[in-house]
């Protein structure tokens, strides 16, 4: 019999997917203005002006939902000495030589790095985004600050997009992971193999 372990509750999953959907929409509507090669993406949002109007509101939705998500996951993402050990084996992880990896808790060091990358970039995106937000807020800021903010916003968005590409790929690459966020459960074998310390904690085995 295939046994499963609960990894995420329905609330956690809903929260995650609100963040994910808002991120994709904010990312696409933002990239549309990032470089002419992506301008066609404005069509997904009803044209240039609508893209410009909607993007910051979607961004704010993402920010708020991410704050809730970060609060839920914060305490599982503190770095431990074991994480340093794991990072030394990153090559083994990437080459699927899993037998050489040290034991991992609920999250491995790579997942923690992603968590903290997003924790830093999302507020930066919010602050820099508000400064350049026409027509509501931008008129209250001096032009030199607009120039700084737009560069920071583009840079933070880029870092976050790269991070999420890695995040999504990792979920596809490590088989049995996606269901943690769609169904809420993972197989015992998956937990034992990838997150043994967490597995023991959950099952008492």
């Amino acid at each position: 019999m295939r046994t499963t372990i609960q990894r995420y509750t329905a609330r956690e999953r809903s929260n995650h997917w609100v963040v994910a959907i808002a991120f994709i929409l904010a990312g696409l509507s933002g990239l549309a203005l990032f470089h002419p090669a992506f301008f066609f993406l404005t069509n997904l949002f009803g044209g240039g002006p609508w893209d410009r109007i909607l993007h910051p509101f979607i961004g704010v939705v993402m920010f708020l939902s991410f704050v809730a998500l970060a609060a839920r996951f914060w305490r599982f993402n503190h770095f431990t000495p074991a994480d340093r050990q794991w990072m030394k084996h990153i090559g083994d992880e990437l080459c699927n030589r899993d037998e050489r990896l040290p034991e991992v808790g609920k999250y491995n060091a790579g997942q923690k790095y992603l968590f903290w990358t997003v924790v830093v970039t999302v507020p930066v995106l919010l602050l820099s985004g508000v400064v350049i937000w026409q027509p509501w807020f931008a008129p209250y800021f001096p032009i030199w600050l607009l120039r700084v903010a737009v560069v920071i916003h583009a840079l933070a968005a880029w870092i976050m997009i790269l991070g999420i590409i890695v995040h999504v790929y990792a979920a596809i690459w490590v088989k049995g992971t996606v269901r943690a966020m769609t169904r809420g459960t993972v197989s015992e074998a998956w937990a034992k193999h990838h997150h043994r310390a967490w597995y023991r904690e959950m099952t008492g085995k």
């Binding site: 203005l33 699927n96 027509p135 120039r147 590409i165 790929y169 197989s187």
Partner: protein, 288 residues
């Protein structure tokens, strides 16, 4: 092709070259500040030709009215009372508005294809029907010129009467100026005309009289004759060495193609990792 006078030299958010076969003459407006009496006839002519009506403001104790450029005021006179020499008050009146930079920062910053164009004759024009109201042009402009309308969230500024120039007329402000402080013609002729004026001013004791055609933005298609060419800041903070902010050049330069490449590479790296190393799978019944 459309009117030769409307041939386009540069277009915002466009990465392929514009048509280049024809090469019309470069135009320029010359503003001779030493001849300006501050009558604001040009402001009125601009409103009239372009069908603009700004709000009637209040007197704030100086002659500047309207107080600033807006979607309805594409040119304003800025009055500066300065004592360049002790005890000798001078009233410097500068007609402010778009400088029609040869290297326009507004166009460089704009993300919307065709919202800002530069005609082959040098005029920089906003095509509001393509404007998305993002305000990026504000960050690109070294002269603080574009204004976003509160009514329609589109950016507006002086067109150098591109519609009049296209059919061989001079801009409305030029037509109306009663003192000849404003002249219009080919850029070459205007530089030549300015040289005569500067020689005259130097004879009359303005040793530093000079033409304002700043190199930092590739020269401009609106130029000033300044009595105090060494101190352009005297004229309501006209920048001495304007250039597109390095932040804007960084943001709109090679960075973005490189960053876009980075995103593409990340996706490719994932794909090739999957087809070479393969997925991480676990046996369902793993033994310890």
């Amino acid at each position: 092709m459309a009117l030769q006078s409307l041939d386009i030299k540069a277009r915002s958010a466009t990465t392929t070259p514009p048509p280049r076969a024809r090469n019309p003459v470069h135009v320029a407006k010359l503003i001779d500040i030493s001849k300006c009496i501050g009558c604001k006839a040009c402001q009125v002519a601009c409103m009239e030709w372009n069908d603009l009506r700004d709000e009637v403001g209040t007197n704030v104790g100086i002659y500047d009215n309207p107080r600033d450029l807006s979607d309805q005021s594409w040119t304003v006179m800025r009055f500066s009372e300065v004592e360049v020499e002790q005890g000798r008050l001078e009233w410097l009146i500068r007609k402010d508005g778009c400088m029609h930079c040869d290297d326009p920062g507004c166009l460089k910053a704009c993300p919307s294809p065709g919202a800002i164009v530069q005609y082959a004759n040098g005029i920089v024009d906003f095509h509001e029907e393509h404007c998305i109201g993002c305000g990026y042009c504000l960050t690109g402009c070294p002269f603080n010129i574009p204004r976003i309308s509160k009514k329609d969230s589109k950016a507006y500024k002086c067109t150098l009467c591109s519609d009049r120039v296209a059919v061989g007329l001079e801009p409305a402000c030029i037509k109306t100026c009663p003192t000849g402080a404003l002249v219009f013609g080919s850029k070459e002729d205007m530089i030549h005309h300015a040289e005569g004026r500067i020689a005259d001013l130097k004879e009359r004791g303005y040793a530093n009289a000079a033409l304002y055609n700043p190199r930092g933005v590739g020269g401009t298609h609106v130029m000033y004759v300044l009595q105090h060419g060494d101190q352009p800041e005297l004229y309501a903070n006209l920048p001495k060495d304007p250039h597109i902010s390095p932040l804007v050049s960084l943001w709109k330069g090679v960075t973005k193609p490189l960053m876009s490449l980075g995103i593409g590479l990340a996706v490719f790296a994932g794909f090739f990792h999957f087809v070479t190393v393969g997925p991480k799978e676990v046996e369902e019944e793993e033994t310890d």
